[in-house]
């Protein structure tokens, strides 16, 4: 109904490989992007700061993780630790006088190097054992951050981010921090969309599908897995730094705990493994659904619609939230992205059932 394909033709193969070939998709992407850019003018500062901004940053983090989990098929249950490395490195680098732009890059590289070292375990172990290895990384990094005062300033210390500017623009205001985060998310998105079309992206997919089969067709598993951990950790580290500077502005070790890693995995799984739109939807769902459910239940309870004890009432949103995750994964194991894809295809072939030759 919305998708009009007639008149879309290509005169060279470059054009035939465009990302959004259908005009309706292009308009959708442009509209969403324009709305995202204009969000500071459309949304109240409260909502921008507490909903939209974290959503964007966590989407970027989920995208970083889905490169590893969705595309290369390597499970990672310690991604919050990678982000912690990025966050702490960037703060210390800026404090040491390194310009913010360079500090972002360096913090990414530090996270990438450390992440790749732990990722090296993936060369030996797979599946659940890899989960164990990455969990070990989570706890090791946690321990180091908490117990080395030089990094965290002490177990219960809070490390404030210094005031910085990005490309000569002050980023102390909420809107400017939002735009920086948005720019980073957009950059990762474009990177991710394109990496799928490169030989690197295809070797990641080959490794995911079967690593020794990939080796047979000439993809080096050692190199590819290391590069997957390196790239993903680099993006995760920068996302951590962005999270620290644009959202938290004061970091403590608990912000990067084990439960955060689990939340990130949930975002990637609920959204749909390896999908860009899934990362956004998954992050939105994991982040915002509990808040909305809490507000909804509280509203219903206030008007007397939910006759349960006050004690149970506080847990009810979590119960529903858990049921929703299970429900989504039962209904569509490929995640929210697949649900979106189904809806899109439903309209793409409108009014027929499937595409016609």
């Amino acid at each position: 109904m919305f998708y009009r394909l007639s008149g879309t033709f290509h005169t060279n193969y470059q054009a035939d490989r465009k990302l959004w070939k259908i005009p309706a998709d292009r308009w959708l992407v442009l509209t969403v992007f324009a709305l995202a850019v204009l969000a500071p003018f459309l949304v109240s500062p409260l909502y921008l700061g507490s909903y939209v901004l974290p959503w964007i940053i966590w989407s970027a983090a989920a995208l970083s993780l889905t490169l590893l989990m969705g595309m290369a098929g390597q499970l990672h249950f310690g991604f919050a630790a990678v982000m912690a490395i990025g966050a702490y490195s960037s703060i210390h680098l800026v404090r040491a006088g390194v310009p913010f732009e360079i500090a972002l890059l360096l913090s990414g590289i530090i996270a990438a190097v450390i992440g790749a070292v732990f990722g090296a375990a993936a060369l030996r172990v797979k599946g659940l054992y890899l989960v164990m290895a990455t969990l070990a990384m989570q706890y090791l990094v946690d321990w180091v951050v908490v117990n080395v005062p030089w990094i965290s300033g002490g177990a219960h210390a809070t490390l404030r981010t210094p005031a910085v500017s990005f490309l000569f623009m002050d980023i102390s205001s909420l809107a400017s921090r939002y735009w920086l985060a948005l720019a980073w998310a957009a950059l990762i998105t474009v990177f991710y969309l394109n990496v799928k079309r490169t030989s690197f992206g295809r070797s990641l997919v080959a490794i995911r599908d079967k690593d020794f089969a990939a080796a047979v067709i000439g993809v080096d598993p050692f190199k590819t897995k290391l590069m997957a951990f390196f790239t993903s950790s680099f993006l995760g580290g920068v996302s951590g730094a962005i999270l620290a500077f644009c959202y938290y502005r004061a970091v403590t070790p608990e912000q990067f705990g084990f439960n955060v890693s689990i939340q990130l995995v949930a975002m990637v799984l609920v959204g749909g493994l390896g999908s860009v739109i899934g990362s956004y939807l998954g992050a939105g769902f994991v982040l915002l659904a509990p808040i909305f459910l809490t507000n909804l239940i509280a509203g219903l309870a206030a008007s007397g619609w939910v006759p349960v004890s006050q004690n149970f009432l506080s847990h009810l949103p979590l119960v529903i939230y858990g049921a929703m995750i299970i429900g989504f994964l039962l209904f569509e194991p490929l995640g929210l992205a697949k649900i979106y894809d189904n809806i899109r295809k439903y309209f793409l072939v409108w009014p027929f059932r499937h595409a016609r030759s």
Partner: protein
């Protein structure tokens, strides 16, 4: 051959024949003008391996001139006939114009024509040069050459399987072009000289009658005929400048030459060529033309495709279709009856939900001018496409008048009439009820066939051979062929095509032949539509493995009987189809039952299916029929088939 009259005589005669034509106003001059005025505009696109290769007007002119120069060096003389055989390909179009540039005459042939037909055409027209699309056509021509040694040169377009290992006397199109390019480089005045050679009085193309009765007749169309026809049509708003056009119909059909070359040159069309016949519908959607012509059969096939798709679609989509489509059909029907309805909210919603998406799915999203011609179109098909928001119109014409004679205006749409003559075309009905036409787009006589010319052209009037009448408001109604009026044993007159067309309006009937000359009853030989009936059988649990088996299922007989009974209800008394048989195969041009343009060859059908016709008339319930089969390699065999014969109840 006739003795050549002196050249001066010829010029004087030609000028006297067509005083309105200017000598230098020919198709190649239009090409040169387009290339000079719009050098970088896209003139042609061809889909090749998934992407569209573009040719600007400059590329087009260069290709034509280089090929012409190369062809001349190979010995083509003015007046030579050059065979062009293959699917629509840019190089074949360039080749036709290149030949016309040398005042030679391109003579296109259908790519699926068997070797004997091609050989006969070459012998009749004394052809020494041929342009073939690919290895398949080259092989065919090589076979012809064994019995026809005067074939000097075969030029191929597609190098696959040929390049580097050409048999003697076979050369690539690009080789000829390269030779021509060298000549053009060496002789700076040659290009202008080549463009100055043709005249408006030269034959631009040699078309052929379909050969429904006997051997095909050559129909030479001059530059002037083609351009007059196109200009008349443009004056009536039939074509606009800069249309996007899809060249998917066979190049041997007059309409393709008129649309893809004549009108394209005169009005700067962008001509788009699909990758293959099989991908034509897909490629159509990619290009989304502004002008679209299809035969009633093709429109009907498109409708069937949609109906099959809707039948298997999901709930909401189907309900929306079933709500909005009949509404729009009813509105169109009211419009036909002269009661224009309001658009309103329903039309607007339907446009968003159903009509627009369907047009888009079919690739007709941008079509401003949609046409059909050739035979009568079914009321349901016609109304359905008009309901979809396409301004589908009918026109009427023959090869002899460049296919452009009479057409409906946007405001006088009707199912029965085909419209009014174009400006510049005169029309009258003679005392026998035959339609006569006169104008600058009418040809000057058949190719080397004085007798047929004398029968067809009388005092400058073209005897179309079609029976027709002019309505009080000046619109033409075409009834059928004059020669097709047939009498039953009791003297009742009927035109079989008329009944057959009405039968074919049923989605389940693909082809039908009505037989009843000198007999007591009318009987029908029916070829069911495999797609639609197959779908019906699946939905109703009728098992089948092949076309033959499907056609003989009792429940399919019931289905077809109901369709025929419905047609009978709308036919005059005494003209009902009383009995019918479902044939075990479709009519096939390779078996000679229909022409390549799918017109019935009645004598072949009477002859081949004589036993079935007799059995139907004798009232038998079944017949063991010895079916003759022609294999692809030309061998014949036979197969015994038990065919069911059925009555149509309540046939009067």
């Amino acid at each position: 051959m006739q003795p050549e009259p002196s050249i001066i005589d010829a010029v004087v005669n030609a000028d006297a024949l067509h005083p309105n034509w200017k000598r230098e106003d020919h198709i190649l001059a239009r090409l040169a003008k387009n290339a000079a005025e719009h050098p970088n505009q896209i003139a042609m696109r061809e889909r090749d391996r998934g992407i569209w290769q573009e040719y600007s007007w400059t590329d087009y002119l260069n290709a034509v001139l280089e090929f012409a120069a190369g062809l001349e060096a190979r010995g083509v003389q003015p007046g030579d006939v050059v065979l062009v055989i293959g699917d629509n390909r840019p190089n074949l179009y360039f080749g036709m114009l290149g030949a016309a540039c040398l005042r030679a005459i391109p003579s296109p042939a259908y790519p699926d024509a068997p070797t004997e037909e091609v050989a006969a055409q070459m012998a009749r027209e004394d052809i020494r040069f041929a342009i073939a699309e690919d290895q398949e056509q080259v092989d065919k021509l090589l076979e012809v050459r064994e019995g026809y040694p005067s074939l000097e040169l075969i030029i191929y377009d597609d190098p696959r399987g040929l390049a580097g290992s050409e048999p003697e006397g076979v050369t690539g199109f690009n080789t000829i072009r390269a030779e021509g390019a060298e000549r053009l480089f060496a002789e700076p005045g040659l290009a202008d000289d080549l463009l100055a050679r043709p005249s408006v009085h030269d034959v631009a193309v040699l078309m052929h009658s379909s050969g429904t009765t006997g051997a095909p007749k050559g129909i030479p169309l001059k530059h002037g005929h083609v351009l007059s026809g196109v200009r008349n049509a443009a004056a009536a708003g039939y074509f606009h400048e800069g249309e996007v056009h899809m060249a998917y119909l066979p190049i041997a059909w007059v309409g393709d030459f008129i649309f893809s070359i004549g009108a394209a040159m005169e009005l700067r069309f962008t001509v788009n060529i699909p990758e293959a016949q099989e991908t034509a519908m897909h490629d159509l959607r990619e290009i989304a033309p502004t002008l679209y012509f299809a035969s009633p059969r093709a429109w009907s096939a498109m409708l069937t495709r949609v109906q099959v798709g809707i039948a298997e679609t999901t709930g909401i989509k189907r309900r929306l279709y079933e709500y909005f489509m009949p509404k729009a059909m009813a509105a169109e029907r009211a419009k036909l009856d002269g009661k224009p309805g309001r658009g309103g909210l329903n039309r607007w919603l339907g446009e968003i939900l159903i009509y627009g998406p369907l047009r888009d799915q079919l690739g007709l999203g941008r079509v401003k001018r949609a046409y059909t011609a050739g035979e009568a179109i079914g009321e349901d098909v016609f109304l359905w496409f008009r309901a979809l928001g396409l301004n589908l119109r009918q026109f009427y014409g023959q090869t002899e008048n460049c296919a452009l004679a009479v057409a409906q205006k946007p405001e006088d749409i009707s199912l029965t009439t085909v419209g009014r003559p174009f400006p510049g075309v005169e029309m009258k009905i003679d005392e026998h009820g035959e339609i006569l036409l006169k104008g600058d787009n009418i040809f000057d006589g058949y190719f080397q066939n004085e007798k047929a010319t004398a029968e067809t052209l009388v005092d400058g009037w073209l005897m179309t051979g079609d029976a027709g009448q002019i309505e009080p408001d000046g619109q033409l109604v075409v009834l059928g062929r004059v020669s097709e009026v047939i009498e039953k044993a009791d003297g009742t007159r009927f035109i079989p095509t008329y009944i057959e067309n009405r039968l074919k309006f049923s989605p389940y009937i693909k082809d039908a032949a009505v037989v009843g000359k000198g007999r007591d009853m009318l009987i029908a030989i029916v070829c069911v539509d495999f797609q639609a009936v197959g779908q019906w059988a699946q939905e109703h649990g009728v098992a089948y493995t092949s076309y033959a088996e499907l056609s003989q299922q009792p429940r399919i007989y019931d289905l077809i009987e109901a369709q025929i009974a419905e047609v009978n209800a709308h036919l005059p008394h005494g003209l009902s189809v009383a009995r019918f048989v479902n044939l075990h195969k479709e009519f096939d041009p390779d078996d000679g039952e229909v022409t390549r343009t799918r017109k019935l060859k009645r004598n072949v059908i009477d002859d081949r299916y004589g036993p079935i016709i007799e059995a139907l008339n004798a009232g038998q319930d079944q017949i063991d029929f010895k079916a003759q089969i022609v294999y692809e390699n030309g061998q014949t065999g036979s197969l015994d088939r038990a065919l069911r014969l059925a009555d149509v109840k309540e046939a009067a």
